[in-house]
Symmetry: C2
Subunit: 247 residues, 2 copies
C-alpha cells in the first residue's frame, strides 16, 4: 500500500522546465508511471526532445497526456503549492529550503486538499532564479554535497519514491516458520550421531562436543519446512557411514 | 548528515549483473557517486557497454575502480549479506521478500559490521533464478504493481537514496524569523490607514473592518526581515494618496 491515495497522487503535477534530453523526459515519465503519478507538464521543452521522449518505455500514456506551457507561471497557475527542486550548491537561495524526507511529508499533507506543482530544472544549470521566484519553498535531495548533481530522471524517481513509499514499520517476522525446538533437537541428534560415527567426537569430551553442536545448530535458524530435508540428508549420510563400517 | 557513516557506505557493493545499456551502467555509477558509495562490481557486462559507460557524467572515479567478474558467486564471495533486487512480479520467489524502506533499514544495520552486496539484474528480464539463489533475501521497491518495472539507473538511485536518507524528523521551524506582534500591528495600522484614506472603510463599520484587516494580516506569517519593505510600500502609497487628496 502506497502512502498516497490515488486521488492525492492525481493532485501532484510534475513540471519539467526547459528539459533538453529526450531520455530525461522519458525517464521522468517512466518514474511517474512506476509510482502512479499521471500529471506531467513541460515548460519550453526542446521540441525534438519532447517528440522523441514519446517513445520511452512504459511512459507512453503519461507523455501523451502531458501539457505543454510557454512559461512556469502558466504551468503552475492552477496549483496552490509550488515547489522547486534544487541542488542548493552555489546559489544564494531566497526561499526556505527543505530536504527529503521532511519535504516529502509536507507535500503529502498538502496533497490531501491542494494541487501541488513540483518543478525540475534543465540538466546543466537547474531552475533559474526567475523560475524559483514562482516557488513557495525549495526541495533538496540529501546527496553528498561534494559529489555532483543528480541526473534529472533519477532525481524525479527519488522524489516520487519518497512521496509514496510505504510507512516504515518494525521488521515483520520472516514468512518462514522456524523449526521447533523438538525438530532442532532431532536434527542435533542426527548430526551428533553422524559426527560420532565419523570419529569426529573424542569420547572423553563427547558431552561438550554435543553441546557445541547444539548451539551451532541453534544459530542457523532452520525453517520448519526444511527439517525433513535435513533429516533425509543425515539419514543418507548415516546409512552410508554404517555401510562403510560394515565393509 | 546522511544516515550511513562513510565507513559503512564503503561496505556496500553495488553489483550490476549482465547490464546491457552503457547509459544504465553510467547512471548507476553516477547515483553511487551522488550518495557517497564507491564500490561497484559488474558481472559479465556487455563489454562495449562497460567501456562506453566510462564517459558518464560524474561517475568516472567509481567506474575506474569498478571490479569485473565472470559470475555472481565470484562478485559476492567476500560479502556477508547478499541481496537481490526484484520487481517480484511474475515469478515464484524462493527467498524472503522485503520492500523499501524496511529492507533498507535492515541493510543499514548489517553495514555496521558486514560487507553487503546489492544485486541489480539485466534490463529486460532482471536477475535469473540462478542469480537469486546466491541471495539471502530479496528487495523490492514499492511501485504501483500494474505500472511496469523501473529503469535500472532509477532503481539504483532510489535504493541508495533510501539507504542514506536523513532521519525523518519533525518539521523544523523555517529559518525565517516571523514579524513580532508589534511589527504586525504597525503594518496593520498602515494598511488600515491606507484603506481609510482610499475610502474603502465605511465609517459606521470602521472597527469591524479594522479587526478584519488585523486578522487577515495575521494569516500571512510575514517575516521580520520583510517588515521594513511593507512599511516602505504603504508609506509610498499613503504619500501618493495624500498628494492626490491635495490636488
Amino acid at each position: 500500500v502506497l502512502l498516497l491515495a490515488s486521488s492525492e497522487r492525481d493532485r501532484l503535477y510534475v513540471v519539467l522546465v526547459s528539459t533538453r534530453n529526450p531520455l530525461n523526459i522519458g525517464a521522468a515519465a517512466r518514474a511517474m508511471n512506476n509510482f502512479g503519478f499521471a500529471r506531467l507538464r513541460v515548460v519550453n521543452p526542446y521540441e525534438v526532445a519532447f517528440r522523441e521522449a514519446r517513445s520511452a518505455v512504459g511512459a507512453a500514456e503519461v507523455l501523451r497526456r502531458a501539457g505543454e506551457f510557454a512559461g512556469v507561471a502558466e504551468a503552475v497557475a492552477d496549483c496552490q503549492l509550488v515547489i522547486g527542486t534544487t541542488a542548493a550548491r552555489s546559489r544564494q537561495l531566497r526561499q526556505p529550503l527543505r530536504a527529503l524526507p521532511d519535504g516529502a511529508r509536507m507535500i503529502r499533507s498538502r496533497l490531501r486538499s491542494s494541487r501541488v506543482a513540483l518543478l525540475f530544472g534543465p540538466e546543466k544549470r537547474g531552475l533559474s532564479n526567475e523560475d524559483l521566484s514562482h516557488c513557495h519553498w525549495l526541495l533538496r535531495i540529501p546527496t553528498c554535497a561534494e559529489h555532483g548533481s543528480m541526473n534529472l530522471g533519477q532525481a524525479v524517481a527519488v522524489c516520487l519514491y519518497d512521496l509514496v513509499r510505504t510507512r516504515s514499520s518494525q521488521p515483520r517476522p520472516g514468512k518462514r516458520k522456524p523449526a521447533s525446538a523438538g525438530e532442532l533437537e532431532a536434527i542435533t541428534q542426527r548430526l551428533f550421531e553422524t559426527l560420532r560415527v565419523s570419529g569426529y567426537v573424542n569420547p572423553q569430551s563427547a558431552a561438550s562436543t554435543e553441546a557445541k553442536v547444539r548451539r551451532m545448530l541453534r544459530r542457523l535458524e532452520i525453517p520448519a519446512a526444511d527439517t525433513d530435508t535435513w533429516f533425509g540428508m543425515f539419514r543418507q549420510i548415516l546409512w552410508k557411514l554404517g555401510k562403510a563400517g560394515l565393509e
